[in-house]
């Protein structure tokens, strides 16, 4: 009896699974009336974030009539390679790192070769952005968003109550740091722990100081491997950074604590009562890590200023930033070209920018659309900045940019190695070719 039932159960399960799969196993690709649909594959994940990208993508559908689907994956950087090699490339990919994008340039259609309005985009984009995705004179991708990184956050009310003022030079920043210490408080909150990516916030610090001490030209050489880490320019930048980060009493627990504190959590202490610190240098997206009650009223709770320039260094205010680059992988799909044109124009992305934390890479984007004064302020500062440079570690070869540069910073800040040893270690890891 039992055997009969087992058999029947098995058959039932099998049959029903076939029926189910028949209903649900819809082929991706062709789509009835609107022509070919377009797949966009990207690394922007998270319940909120991915939803916002989908909302933004839905606008494309409204504007162009093309069916667009956004597919997020946390493992974008690995999956994109296997998908391309397996002949299952998405139509458009959103690269978080221009370095990876240029690595795969043989699979990507240069934007100069298709009609996507590159010239218009070039005019509205923040100058310098497209350069990060250019190789041998061809542009392989264009930014769809940006997160400025040269920002220092402070807890507004306690900061003003204590009579502190926003510094406009590096010396003033150091003076402010001393003043906070004299008042018996901790000036800085810094954390560079980030799971397998631990160290990246420190690379941003160094990049910021290279831009400020040695200037953008030296920065470009450094990123391209023409200027060594152990050169006097970079060493000086690192020392300037170390003065802020590693001076006794500037950060609670010193270098060891910096290395072990998750970067997101480190910002939370700023909003304790009394504040665990008064200064925190991090990109615009850090607001999503602030405690909920702070986020609810960002303008009243948080203030922000651009990391001030260094005297005797570069004359001007540089901004360091990052962003996602859209690249066209399947130019045979006409609709993908259409979607691409929309993606890289200043029309794209409004739902995302209205949510805050992420900014449009176009100077023509209406600043008033940002949700709060803080974001508007950041956008204005970025638009007025003298120089924009892309996050250098994302442009360097992967061995360095997502490897020895990260671990080197951890070794130095954690006190396991001295600065000179770390810098020459990183130089050695630079791939020779």
């Amino acid at each position: 009896m039992r055997s009969r039932n087992t058999l029947r159960l098995g058959a039932l399960v099998f049959a029903s699974s076939l029926v189910l799969s028949g209903c649900l196993g819809a082929e991706q690709g062709d789509d009835g009336d609107g022509g070919q649909s377009v797949q966009i594959f990207g690394g922007i994940t998270g319940t909120e974030e991915a939803k916002l990208v989908e909302d933004a993508v839905a606008e494309i559908k409204e504007a162009t009539g093309v069916d667009v689907e956004y597919q997020p994956s946390r493992d974008f950087t690995t999956i994109i390679r296997s998908r391309v090699r397996g002949g299952d490339a998405p139509d458009i990919a959103l690269y978080p790192q221009p370095g990876l994008l240029l690595d795969m340039s043989s699979d990507i259609t240069p934007l100069d070769d298709v009609d996507v309005g590159l010239d218009e985009a070039r005019e509205t984009l923040i100058p310098g952005f497209l350069d990060s995705a250019t190789k041998d004179g061809k542009v392989y991708g264009a930014p769809i968003d940006q997160a400025p990184k040269s920002l220092v956050w402070y807890p507004k009310e306690p900061f003003e109550k204590a009579g502190y003022e926003v510094p406009t030079t590096h010396q003033e920043l150091l003076d402010l740091t001393e003043q906070i210490k004299d008042d018996g408080d901790t000036p800085w909150c810094i954390g560079i722990e980030s799971g397998p990516d631990t160290g990246w916030p420190a690379t941003d610090w160094l990049e910021d100081y290279v831009l400020r001490t040695a200037g953008p030209d030296a920065y470009d050489q450094w990123v391209n491997g023409e200027l060594k880490f152990s050169s006097p320019e970079i060493t000086e930048a690192a020392e300037t950074m170390g003065e802020v980060m590693l001076t006794e009493g500037n950060v609670q627990g010193g270098g060891k604590a910096i290395v072990n504190t998750p970067f997101g959590e480190s910002s939370e202490r700023m909003f304790e009562d009394p504040p665990g610190c008064y200064l925190h240098r991090q990109a615009s997206f850090i607001t999503s890590f602030f405690p909920d009650k702070v986020q609810e009223n960002l303008d009243e709770n948080a203030g922000v200023f651009v990391l001030p320039p260094v005297e005797d260094g570069f004359d001007g205010t540089p901004i360091l930033g990052s962003g996602n680059f859209a690249a066209l992988l399947n130019s045979e799909n006409e609709n993908a070209v259409k979607v691409m044109e929309y993606l890289i124009s200043d029309k794209f992305g409004t739902p995302r920018y209205e949510a805050g934390g992420i900014l449009s890479p176009h100077t023509t984007f209406d600043v008033e659309k940002y949700p709060d004064e803080v974001t508007k302020e950041i956008a204005t500062q970025v638009n007025e900045a003298d120089v924009f440079r892309f996050d250098g570690s994302d442009l360097m070869p992967a061995e360095v940019g997502t490897g020895s540069f990260w671990t080197g910073m951890v070794d130095w800040i954690g006190g396991r190695k001295d600065l000179d040893a770390v810098l020459s270690d990183i130089d050695e890891s630079w791939p020779s070719s």
Binding site: G10, S17, Q39, I44, R85, G86
Partner: protein, 305 residues
């Protein structure tokens, strides 16, 4: 889980009672030792899971400030518990769809290898054909081929046929990689079945097909169930194969969907605790319901009508 306890009890009993009177206390002591050892093992094994469960019911900000064990002092203080994490996971984008997809992937990916492997195991056990042992050795040898090395070639083949990103791609991948173990397990099990039964069936004029469906399959239920559990759990929990052959999008499975819950920079990680429990539900149901077959099949002997 409770069904495993009865068979344990008789096992501890047959201890040679050296002295009829002195035997009892000694047996009591050893039972206690066994019980304590079991208790310790169960505790050690489940503590991480309990920690996960507790964490999934706490506010994210509280989680980053204190360990989960801190609730033990006041577990009845209901203000510290929240269902917010579960709510967010359940209402996450595409979650319902992903759950269905997972079933659509897992059930055929479990049934196909079992069915095919049962046929193969029958042939390897009861049918005589030239090169039988060589075939069997080669097949079992495939056990050592790691899944990862086959990704790119498989992707290329699937790309040619045009099934990348569709369900058959994952079914085939899982079925193929589950096959060597399935054939090996089932063949070894069938080897142990009483040969007289099959012989007498043959004498009665039963064809291979009838013998297989009427005799071998019912008698192999325990092995089939055991393998079904393994394969089901493996496929259900698999992220890698699903990510590569199915990817994110309309056809994404639960594991792929869950991995996108965490933000680009690691925000919202607290949702994973709740998500872990939600994905556990189905494997738990499968295990607990199949476990009946598992245990009964093992203990009941197979030559009963």
């Amino acid at each position: 889980m409770t069904t495993t306890t009865p068979p344990l009890a008789p096992e501890t009993e047959p201890e040679p009672p050296a002295k009829p009177s002195g035997g009892k206390p000694r047996r009591g002591v050893s039972t206690i030792i066994v019980r304590i050892a079991l208790l310790v093992m169960v505790l050690v094994w489940t503590i991480p899971t309990i920690g996960l469960l507790v964490t999934s019911g706490r506010e994210p900000e509280v989680v980053s400030n204190s360990g989960w064990w801190s609730v033990l002092s006041s577990p009845l203080d209901f203000t510290q518990w929240t269902a917010q994490n579960y709510e967010e996971v359940f209402t996450a984008r595409g979650m319902g769809n992903a759950f269905l997809n997972s079933l659509v992937v897992t059930i055929p990916a479990t049934v196909i290898p079992i069915l095919v492997a049962a046929f193969a195991a029958y042939a390897f056990t009861f049918m005589k054909f030239p090169g039988r042992d060589v075939f069997f050795i080669v097949l079992v040898g495939l056990l050592v081929v790691p899944l990862q090395v086959a990704f790119i070639p498989l992707l290329q083949i699937f790309g040619e046929i045009g099934i990348v990103g569709t369900f058959p791609a994952v079914w085939l991948a899982h079925a193929a990689f589950g096959m060597p173990l399935a054939v090996y397990l089932l063949r070894n099990y069938m080897e142990g079945l009483p040969g007289e039964v099959i012989e007498s069936a043959k004498v009665d004029g039963a064809s291979h097909f009838v013998t297989f469906w009427r005799l071998i399959i019912p008698m192999s239920t325990p092995a089939l169930a055991a393998y079904a559990i393994f394969q089901f759990l493996w496929v259900w929990n698999d992220l890698l194969v699903a990510l590569i052959f199915l990817g994110p999008g309309d056809n994404e499975v639960v594991t792929v969907n869950l991995s996108t819950l965490v933000g680009t920079l690691g925000s919202d990680w607290h949702l994973l605790t709740a998500a872990a429990f939600i994905t556990m539900i189905v494997p738990m149901i499968v295990f607990l319901s199949l476990q009946r077959y598992f245990v009964r099949g093992l203990t009941a002997g197979s030559v009963k009508g």
